[in-house]
């Protein structure tokens, strides 16, 4: 079989279970695909071929002994913001260019316990700050649907890798849309779970109250399979929720029996591309045909404040987190100075890229004496209102449906010197992180060959409903089956 890299998790699992293929064969097929397309897409920063083949051999042994779980022997790529023991974890930053963690993140522990195969680490915006993967200190990733366009960010490497079949699935992280926006831009499925649903232990912190790890997959069923493995309480993460994990595959039902869906009009923002609007409206009609009760007049009036709240809270948390990169314990260290303070300043000056510096400055300002009340505290109070408004909406609706992004993927370089325009790329996704809700992006159309994503937002810890809706929609369309011309 020459097209093994194109398999989904479910398909590969069946073939492995029936012993029609081995994990080594599957892993080699993905490594061959990587070798073929990587010089065009640049989705990966580290490819750990030897380790992957060793893991594949072990997975084959496990399968031979009769033990197989859904992710056993399946090759995956991991966003380079999650610690992997013995494999470099760079966060696509010069500061961590040579950092090798001595431990695994909890999600990696869980994947290893499932005997998944880790092919390597994917490119990202430096420290997960950005919407285009152009802020990587190493190189930008390109959108496989059009190599002149961005794949979205900050999990752009993971989304592009899944779209091109470099890996069967990938993990990303989402602080303001960083799983969903690139999933939308690359026409794959991306889920940001509820805050606290998946352990953040070993995820290099950007903004602790907003970050969440989640799957990026080729279809919705695969997304449920990965979530089944990575979700759950972790004593190592004090913000991890001590709730039981359901079997998410049970939510995969093709009809939407009278589910109540709200379409918040504020998410159809001024400046939204007309093709995006048209595709999402068509998708909403489809949801109605599938049995949902749709209210097109839903309103979330505080949406316009979310961008400001986010860009105060996230940089404030980031400025505290990034203070640890002082060039003493690990990472890049600038030594050629007269004293310790100068060494620390130069380490950060030459170790961090522009966007990281911008956010450290913003956060330091918002937290500084005299401005704390006006910025940080104010943003936290408006956050209370935004969460309350979502809670009220969920008294009326089972889920909310919006576009994932206001535009199709933009050109490389188009917004890189205009931070406000870049920040607007995540305008539909970041309110969800502020409120800590789960949301999924599914492929919902194309405009001139460029992908469009639909976002489905759920109640806290109700990933099942959004997977249900996403699955029903996916089964009635074929957007997810299209492959980029690469």
């Amino acid at each position: 079989m020459s097209d093994l890299h194109q398999l989904t998790i479910s398909q590969a699992h069946q073939l492995l279970k029936d012993r029609n293929i081995s994990s080594v064969e599957l892993t080699k097929a993905n490594l061959a695909r990587l070798a073929k397309v990587e010089d065009k897409v640049h989705a990966c920063v580290t490819i750990s071929e030897d380790t992957a083949l060793k893991q594949a051999k072990e997975a084959d042994k496990t399968i031979s002994s009769g033990k197989i779980e859904p992710l056993t022997g399946i090759p995956a790529l991991i966003k380079d913001v999650m610690c992997t023991k013995g494999i470099k974890t760079t966060c696509s930053s010069k500061v961590l260019e040579s950092f090798v963690p001595p431990y695994d993140a909890t999600v990696i522990d869980k994947l290893k316990a499932s005997k998944t195969v880790i092919l390597g680490k994917t490119n990202m915006d430096e420290f997960a700050m950005g919407s285009s993967t152009e802020n990587s200190a190493f190189f930008p990733t390109r959108n496989p649907w059009n190599l002149d366009r961005v794949p979205g960010g900050s999990s752009g490497g993971s989304a592009a890798a899944v779209a091109t079949d470099e890996a069967i699935y990938a993990l990303g992280s989402d602080t303001g849309g960083s799983i969903r926006q690139p999933a939308g831009f690359c026409s794959v499925v991306g889920l940001k779970p509820t805050y606290g649903r998946v352990s953040r232990f070993g995820l290099v912190a950007f903004a602790n109250s907003l970050d969440q790890i989640g799957p990026i997959t080729k279809n919705v069923a695969d997304c449920a399979l990965v979530l089944n493995v990575i979700a759950g309480h972790d004593p190592k993460d004090s913000t991890s929720a001590p709730y039981p994990v359901p079997d998410y595959t049970k939510a995969l039902i093709p009809k939407l029996n009278n589910l109540r869906l709200g379409i918040p009009k504020e998410y159809f923002v001024e400046g939204m591309q007309k093709e995006v609007r048209a595709s999402i409206e068509t998708a909403i009609n489809k949801l109605e045909e599938l049995g949902a009760n749709v209210d097109r007049d839903a309103s979330l009036s505080l949406t316009k404040y979310a961008l400001a709240v986010y860009y105060i809270l996230a940089p404030s948390e980031a400025s505290a987190n990034l203070a640890r990169y002082d060039g003493v314990k690990y990472g890049f260290s600038y030594q050629d100075t007269n004293n310790m303070w100068e060494a620390m300043e130069k380490t950060k000056q030459f170790g961090f890229g522009d966007e990281v510096k911008r956010r450290i400055m913003l956060g330091t300002y918002a937290l500084s004496a005299g401005y704390y009340d006006a910025y940080y505290l104010k943003a936290q109070k408006v956050r209370t209102l935004i969460r309350r408004e979502f809670d009220q909406a969920f008294e009326k609706y089972d889920a909310l449906v919006t576009p994932t992004s206001p535009t199709v993927p933009f050109k490389l370089g188009e917004k890189v010197d205009d931070p406000i325009q870049m920040y607007l790329s995540d305008v539909c996704t970041l309110p969800i992180n502020i409120a800590g809700l789960p949301a999924i992006s599914v492929p919902a159309g194309f405009a001139d060959g460029l992908p469009i994503g639909m976002q489905i937002i759920g109640k806290p810890f109700d990933e099942e409903t959004i997977l249900h809706i996403a699955f029903a929609y996916e089964q009635s369309t074929d957007w997810h089956k299209r492959k980029p011309p690469i």
Binding site: S238, S319, Q335, P460
Partner: protein, 95 residues
């Protein structure tokens, strides 16, 4: 909210972030624009509202205080920019 060059330098000093002269000017303009966009929050009355630091209810998390092995010293120090035996080597804080 227009920032001055002195303010930008002061913020950079607080963050111990070195900036070139060109960066000071670039960030002065960009940060001023971004802060101006934040003015929108003044439209909302937040008197008597509690702040939300986390989106889920949090409780203190405790674990038994039991001794256990730490990571091997070698693995930790393998990442150190400078080391001296089993210690991190750093510049003198007080000279």
């Amino acid at each position: 909210m227009k920032l001055s060059r002195e303010e930008v330098k002061h913020i950079a000093l607080l963050a111990r972030l070195g900036l070139s002269e060109a960066e000071i000017e670039k960030f002065r303009i960009q940060l001023s624009d971004i802060l101006e966009n934040f003015e929108i929050l003044k439209q909302i009355d937040t008197t008597d509202l509690p702040p939300t630091a986390q989106s889920i209810a949090l409780q203190n998390v405790f674990r038994p205080d039991e001794p256990k092995a730490s990571y091997p010293v070698k693995e930790i120090l393998d990442n150190a920019p400078q080391r001296d035996g089993n210690c991190f080597k750093t510049r003198a804080v007080l000279e």
